[in-house]
């Protein structure tokens, strides 16, 4: 028995439009944004992107400038308080946003391009090429990435943003490659790909125009995942003092907070804002990823009404695969799968 599409529509009211072919292309194009999780994530990410661009301009103080206000709690003059040198933490956070976003973006793009090249090639070509490329990505998957990044970055003296991004990008493509390979394997024997091959399309064209468009969601979710990992890794590198301590990012703030015993001095404002900024960015990216997952596989959606009153007045918990007879106003169509879930 397969799930009838109608049961999904009943479980999730208001989502029925998804299954109906819409004549208006405009509406279909923005369907993804209609998902509440994805929309929230995109809005938050947009704010971060904006801060990355204008942050250094709107920062009220120079993040390096020392002042007489040493180690002060948040006030109207210093929104997030000050450091042991009287530096304004709010300005440091604003200025640091750019470095975090840039490293995340560069590493994400690099890793995504590598994963497409390796994963799709392996999945499409098959045979010995597949064997060796999968072995390569499995090796990179199993080797602990963060210690490797730490080793490489520490050998280079005072690694800058670009170098850190390159190191992270070059070491974190394996997961995406693995997922893409699996999906390509299942696509390459589909009828439309066979048809393209039969009409004599070139291999690069089949990959680029027949297969890649169908991998868009997976590529997007892989990209978002890599950005999360890259941001975390960059902040970690800065926190343990490997990358350049002179340029500001949120890890650098935490590095100084840890080094100056902010905890022992009770200076919670020194490390709380940076951590929350990281967590909020991570959550926004994760929400976008959930949105993509649910967009691709509607079953995963949460929420919606799952307890429904049936014709005989009892409540039933909806579950995929079961279609209870609904309240009287629904047409009394005999349904075979009707069953009550008494435990709920």
């Amino acid at each position: 028995m397969t799930i009838s599409p109608s049961s999904i529509e009943q479980v999730i009211p208001g989502q029925g439009a998804m299954a109906q072919p819409s004549a208006r292309a405009r509406r279909r194009r923005f369907r993804f944004v209609a998902n509440a999780k994805a929309a929230t994530g995109l809005v938050v990410l947009g704010v971060y992107a904006l801060l990355a661009v204008i942050g250094p301009w709107i920062a009220p103080y120079d993040p390096d400038a020392r002042s007489a206000d040493v180690l002060q709690a948040p006030s109207t003059r210093h929104w997030f308080g000050t450091t042991h040198l009287g530096q304004d933490i709010f300005s440091q956070i604003l200025v640091g946003a750019r470095s975090v976003m840039v490293v995340g973006l560069i590493a994400g793009v690099l890793a995504t391009v590598l994963s497409i090249l390796i994963g799709v090639t392996a999945g499409y070509l098959g045979g010995a090429a597949d064997e060796s490329l999968s072995a390569l990505s499995n090796v990179f998957l199993v080797i602990p990435a963060l210690p490797l990044i730490i080793i490489v970055a520490s050998l280079v003296d005072q690694a800058g943003d670009l170098l850190v991004a390159l190191i992270i990008g070059l070491t974190s493509w394996a997961w995406g490659a693995r997922v893409l390979r699996a999906q390509t394997l299942s696509l390459r024997r589909r009828d439309y790909v066979e048809a393209a091959r039969a009409t004599g399309e070139r291999t690069w064209r089949i990959i680029g125009f027949e297969i890649l468009p169908n991998l868009t969601a997976i590529i997007a979710s892989g990209f978002v995942g890599t950005v999360i990992f890259a941001v975390m890794s960059e902040i970690t590198l800065a926190f343990i003092g490997i990358s350049s301590v002179s340029s500001w990012n949120w890890g650098t703030i935490l590095f100084w907070a840890q080094g100056q015993q902010a905890l022992a001095q009770g200076a919670w404002w020194w490390f709380v804002p940076a951590g929350l900024a990281i967590a909020l960015l991570g959550t926004a990216l994760a929400l976008i990823n959930f949105g993509i997952d649910e967009f691709v596989s509607p079953r995963l959606r949460t929420g919606g009404r799952t307890r429904i009153r049936t014709a005989d007045g009892r409540t039933v918990r909806m579950r995929v695969g079961f279609t209870p007879v609904l309240a009287p106003r629904a047409a009394p169509v005999p349904m075979q799968d009707t069953r009550e879930d008494r435990t709920s």
Binding site: I3, V11, A135, V139, L141, V142, I143, P144, A145, L146, P147, I150, I151, V152, S154, L155, D157, W175, F229, M232, I235, T236, F239, I240, G241, I242, L254, A257, Q258, L263, W268, F271, A274, G275, I278, A279, L280, L281, G282, T283, L285, A286, L287, F290, D293, S297, R299, L300, T302, G303, G304, R305, T306, R307, R317, M318, R319, V320, R339, S344
Partner: protein, 325 residues
């Protein structure tokens, strides 16, 4: 059996790749940081130790690459990882040997507990899709987006402090000697509660989510409907039919992501000054102790490979299909 042999072969290959990577990294990176370390400690290091460091970091440029590679392997097989500069004259292997049990105890145990706990919660959340547990998912997402080390900092600020039950740093009471006795064990446990809780809170949500999604997918399969139709109890269908099958991808996912998890959890040790590999790596980075760093990377990688192999054995036990051929 064939499945297991294939996996063992793959892990041996990966171990070889990691060691080769370790061989090439210091040779590719410009500059010779180790050379400067040696010259700074001139006269304090024995000639033997200098010779072994030269082999490990490719300073004997009069030999060609292949000879260097063979000499490197010969030295590794003797268990000689060079000399640690942080814990001067102690050899790297000794330093690692003293900190490995701490990491295995803390990171190993909490990773497994987090997987089991997260999976169990995921079974519940997936089977009752749309119940209140789904409402908790965004909260767990937020928790898993927090860097482990930052959560550790907050935990110290909130729970540890003068007069608190939870110590804020170290692996045991300073005056004690590590031994299996009535004084040391309780102290070690007391010191590990806070770091372990930190790791649990931030690593569990991933398992909850992946298990939930697998349960949702599995519960629409035909055999679940058949199980219901047979009149089996709800509990039996959920656990023996749906969860058992949903567990398989989660176990293989666990094996694959071990490398990521271990990397993150090592940082918790730094925040708590826990005497494990992560804290040692941090100290090595601080004092530019390259031999110790490379040794730790090698040991972490090999531990992860062993853990992977164990996860594969678990998979073998759970999935009869892999045993058939």
């Amino acid at each position: 059996m064939r499945f297991l042999l294939q996996r063992v072969a793959f892990y041996l290959f990966t171990a070889w790749a990691a060691i080769t990577l370790n061989f090439f990294i210091p040779r590719i990176v410009p500059g010779d940081p180790v050379q400067s370390l040696i010259s700074r400690n001139q006269g304090r290091i024995s000639a033997d130790a200098i010779a072994s460091l030269r082999v490990l970091f490719g300073l004997d440029s009069d030999r060609n690459l292949w000879e260097q590679y063979v000499a490197y392997w010969g030295q590794l097989l003797h268990g000689d990882l060079g000399l640690s500069f942080t814990f001067f004259p102690a050899p790297v292997s000794e330093v690692i040997g003293s900190s490995l049990p701490w990491t295995v105890g803390l990171v190993g145990v909490t990773t497994i507990v987090s997987f089991l706990l997260g999976t169990a919660l995921g079974v519940g959340a997936g089977w009752r899709r749309g119940s209140w547990i789904d409402g908790l998912l965004p909260a767990t997402t937020f928790l898993s987006s927090i860097p482990y080390f930052w959560l550790g900092l907050v935990a110290i600020a909130l729970f540890a402090g003068p007069g608190s039950f939870f110590p804020s740093s170290g692996g045991y009471e300073p005056g004690l000697v590590p031994a299996f006795d009535a004084y040391f064990i309780p102290s070690a446990l007391q010191h590990s509660i806070l770091p372990a809780a930190t790791i649990l809170v931030s690593s569990m949500s991933g398992w909850i989510l992946s298990m939930r999604n697998m349960m949702v997918t599995v519960s629409s399969e035909d055999y679940i409907t058949v199980a219901h139709a047979k009149g089996l109890s709800e509990r039996r269908v959920a656990l023996s039919y749906a969860a058992r099958n949903a567990l398989l991808p989660n176990v293989s996912g666990f094996a694959l992501s071990l490398g990521f998890i271990v990397g993150g959890t090592l940082l918790v040790e730094i925040v708590f000054s826990y005497p494990g590999l992560g804290f040692q790596l941090f100290q090595a980075v601080g004092s530019k102790d390259y031999p110790l760093m490379q040794g730790i990377f090698l040991i972490i990688t090999i531990s992860v490979l062993v853990a992977n192999l164990l996860a594969d054995v678990a998979y073998l036990l759970l999935d009869p299909r892999t045993r058939k051929s």
